[in-house]
């Protein structure tokens, strides 16, 4: 299981990477493996305001459907249309080109509620 340093993680298997005033969100390697081949992605719209732990996307695999939740509150400022056209990208590059949305966080203090790489790796190793 790959859990890069420098990212923050949720207990629902999302990751978030701060990038100045913005933050990129995706699902973890653990999540993509658990889902198996991803066949469908639906993303929140640009401009939507989401609160922490609210859905920002739906992913479906052959096996299951599940929601992706916002790691922190914010405004959706970009979405990755590439994973809509090619959902397998999420399996291949969960921390790279398989990102989901870019948020402009409205309450940066929420980052402190998230796990770092070591904590998340330990959480998922349980």
């Amino acid at each position: 299981m790959n859990t890069p340093d420098g990212l923050r993680y949720t207990d629902k298997d999302e990751w978030i990477r701060r990038d100045g005033p913005r933050a990129v969100v995706g699902i973890t390697d653990y999540a993509q493996r658990h889902l198996g081949d991803i066949t469908f992605v639906e993303l929140s719209r640009v401009g939507n305001h989401v609160r922490q732990a609210q859905p920002i996307a739906t992913v479906e695999s052959v096996k299951a459907a599940s929601e992706v939740y916002a790691p922190v509150s914010g405004t959706v400022v970009a979405v990755n249309e590439k994973i809509v056209a090619d959902p397998g990208l999420v399996n291949r590059e969960p921390y790279g080109d398989g990102w989901f949305v870019v948020l402009e966080p409205t309450n940066p203090a929420e980052f402190d509620t998230l796990m770092d790489a070591a904590a998340y790796a330990a959480y998922r190793a349980e």
């Binding site: 081949d37 469908f40 052959v62 096996k63 397998g88």
Partner: protein
């Protein structure tokens, strides 16, 4: 690995469901189907009562022939689906589902005139399915010369493979050219390894087995058909020989005369989103049925499903909406198979 009955079953191997699916359509997938059960029946089909126990015509099979049919209860509910194989004049093999095997055995013993003619082969027999357009060439060097050239679709033969007695049938659950291999249980691992030595073969799990069968519209017992559905409702009357006597035929004739209220149909969506088991089917602003099996179809790139709808909505071309109460998937009632390029009948 997932538990299925008392079995631990691989849902997928490291390649993943979609890769395994495509590999089976393109080359050859190897499926561990040792959970399935078989019965040996010895004797005349009429005298033993095998003919009466199955909806398909049994005694008319030539030696080496296979036929798909059903075991029904008195009210024509499906007890199980099965493939019957005639391996010799009085030598039959019945291949049934894993979860129903015990019940099937009780049913057969209760229904047949000669219950002692039925013997469970489950403890001694393992089964592997080799499926895919290249499966004939993969199998050829392992069996006696010429055997596969005369083994047409839905034919079976007792033969030798890797120095053991086996049954090879040209059957399967994928729509591709392929074989089911019935081998001594204690030798299954060796056969599995020998087949995988061929680089054209890759292991495929239950996940791919399900997407492959669903693309063909093959029903899954316990999901699409069950004791509370009849072959008429399931649209599978072509596997019922109404000219012969079998348990359940009076109820079926009655249902035929009275008309059915619902029918199992296929649905095709224009989305990559999967309809799933339990989703409702809406038409004309109300619920008219429900989905029994649904998935993303890797070979078609869209969601497909099987499900029951009121008879008025069962005709191909009718537009419906499949919904879980939250999402709505427009779908068209479609006559299976959804996937029409299968190689199952290639080369006779």
């Amino acid at each position: 690995m997932s538990p299925f009955g008392d079995w631990l079953m691989p849902i997928q191997y490291p390649d993943g469901i979609i890769a395994e699916h495509h590999w089976t359509r393109r080359s050859a997938g190897l499926f561990d189907t040792c959970h399935m059960a078989m019965f040996a029946i010895t004797g005349d089909a009429e005298t033993t009562g095998l003919e009466y126990a199955l909806t398909c015509s049994v005694n008319s099979l030539p030696v080496g022939g296979c036929r798909y049919g059903f075991m029904l209860n008195e009210v024509a509910g499906i007890v199980d689906d099965a493939v019957v194989m005639r391996l010799g004049r009085d030598d039959w093999m019945l291949v049934v589902n894993a979860a129903t095997a015990e019940r099937d055995e009780q049913h057969l013993r209760a229904v047949m005139r000669r219950p002692d003619a039925v013997r469970s082969m489950a403890a001694e027999t393992g089964k592997l399915d080799l499926q895919g357009p290249l499966s004939r060439e993969v199998l050829r060097p392992l069996v006696p010369p010429g055997i596969l050239d005369t083994l047409g679709y839905y034919r079976a033969v007792r033969t030798r493979m890797l120095d053991m007695d086996v049954v090879v049938s040209r059957t399967g659950y994928t729509g591709e050219l392929g074989y089911e291999l019935f081998v001594p249980r204690d030798r299954v691992t060796g056969v599995w390894r020998a087949l995988l030595e061929d680089r054209r073969v890759r292991p495929a799990g239950l996940g791919a087995r399900d997407t492959l069968r669903l693309e063909m519209g093959y029903p899954l017992y316990g999901q699409d058909i069950a004791a509370d559905t009849t072959p008429l409702e399931a649209g599978l009357e072509r596997f019922v020989d109404m000219r012969k006597g079998f348990l359940g035929n009076n109820a079926l004739i009655e249902q035929w005369a009275g008309g059915i209220r619902r029918r199992l149909v296929g649905f095709r969506t224009d989305s990559r989103r999967s309809p799933r088991h339990g989703y409702h089917v809406h038409a004309g602003g109300r619920a008219v049925g429900s989905v029994t099996s649904g998935s993303f179809a890797p070979s078609l790139g869209c969601g497909i499903a099987l499900g029951y709808v009121e008879k008025a909505y069962a005709d191909p071309g009718i537009g419906v909406v499949i919904t879980d109460g939250r999402i709505e998937l427009p779908a068209i009632v479609t006559e299976p198979p959804f996937y029409r390029d299968g190689t199952a009948r290639t080369g006779g």
